[in-house]
Symmetry: C2
Subunit: 317 residues, 2 copies
Amino acid sequence: MIIPKTSTRAITSPSGTADSMEVLAPVTFTSEEVEKMVSELNACIIWGGALDIAPADNVLIEVERPLHYDPWGLMIPSILAKKIAMGVNAGLVLDIPVGEGTKFSTPSRGKEFAHVFKQIASNFGVKAECALTLAHQPIGHAVGPAIEAKEALRLLLDYNVGPNSLIEKSTSLAGILLEMGGKAQRGEGQTLAKQILQSGNAYKKMRDIIELQGGDPDIQPDDIELGPYQKDFYSNKSGHITEVDNAIINQIAKAAGCPYAKTSGVEIYRKQGAKIEKGEKIFTIYSNSENKLRRARKIYNSTGGPIILGGMLIERI
Amino acid sequence: MIIPKTSTRAITSPSGTADSMEVLAPVTFTSEEVEKMVSELNACIIWGGALDIAPADNVLIEVERPLHYDPWGLMIPSILAKKIAMGVNAGLVLDIPVGEGTKFSTPSRGKEFAHVFKQIASNFGVKAECALTLAHQPIGHAVGPAIEAKEALRLLLDYNVGPNSLIEKSTSLAGILLEMGGKAQRGEGQTLAKQILQSGNAYKKMRDIIELQGGDPDIQPDDIELGPYQKDFYSNKSGHITEVDNAIINQIAKAAGCPYAKTSGVEIYRKQGAKIEKGEKIFTIYSNSENKLRRARKIYNSTGGPIILGGMLIERI
């Protein structure tokens, strides 16, 4: 299978795939360079925006970012234009994260989008499948370019460190691709994807990609620096986590400098359902600037933070 | 404070408050009896439908139940008529559970309802507050008349057994009432409610209510029988619980005989966020009939059960 992965930088979120990948290797290439890399390795993980394949899209994204607004009419052509230009038509898997504080707050809205997307894709001869995925809280424990790269690399090196949500999400998406590519029977793609991840083959492929794109293939999770300014937060009561609020996390991470400051980000130690003791460390903010850290702390303090404990009351009206 | 609590039997759910309370004491009284009880104890927990105070409502509910349908236009007069007839006007707290598989799938829908409800209540001179509460998964670990009564009684006897979600939800609602009744400053009602629960005073009051309504005040959680037909379910894999599906639980509990069969119900051992080992017991169905148990098991098996493990994929489209 050939997987020429183009990804975006963050538009309205604290980190896009391209922002995180850039921590491990350059992601900015010309079409000719990409063609050469893909013919050599059957894969790449690059920033789609640097290619000259969908120039209007970059302009639109630059308009959207300051507006924090990304409407369907721009989202769909933005995704499809780059994929079509990359020659993807045999199979495209679109991840549609669903949950409060994300683009699609309910599965029914996500579903609606999926059907529109599939229809438009098929008009252009692209066979697409959409995966609605759970995103009511962050995947894994990290938000921010460097910290997400660190978390992903750690998992690639050792399946047992998890996090479970990251394993499940990445292998369910990869599983659909494997099924569409004829490498696995319908319903067996995820199992195969997990084997590839667990066996270390996914890590080996990632090393090759990092090396070919000009990064250091020997990079270890501990080599990836965060901060240097950081602030830990501790729970001021005991209880169970009933909610981890994406919207507050995104606000804090952006205030801390994401996505432009790679080393800025947040770490969420415990998630929904976890039992927390008073005084337990639950959250850390990393920032490249003391001022930004101060701003991010202010948001944490004024909102009470993204980790909501025990309370069953959403709102009193 | 005088709290003359009228409650409903289940309309579209597996158990209403009146259904559970009836496991501990009779709930069917005439207006005269209720007046006498409330003047003696300042409290009661009765079935509103048995009173002759809102006769049209009973007819409407009987129409709604088989239709599994409870529209706003019936819900609001149904709630308000009984409260007004009971003389409640100083303060009414309405719990609005919000979450997939409940009447209000998103907070924004619940909020809309809250504003309409408050407006109509105030037209009738009733001071109402609405509490949007988390209901994306069951509160506590029990669904069904007897098993919910058992769980509530256990908590009343010992604060430390929890469950946390039940403590949090009940005390946040009680806290609003205490604040509206002038017993606590704004923002301090829940703390007071927790003290009342923890000190055993809530249990003492419950004993008085049970006794006055004709039940056995010495009843212990272990006296409350379930089943007798039951079936345990074990996890067929390891992972984290990402979702506990209300809709499937309700289907199973109703198939098992709820709300008419008091001893029917389900027990959910672990909830969202919990880490589960393969082979761990996660769910039990109780039923008063072997046939109903068989039907409930079929729903568990065909849906895969309400406890969804690990998967981050909601749907593939």
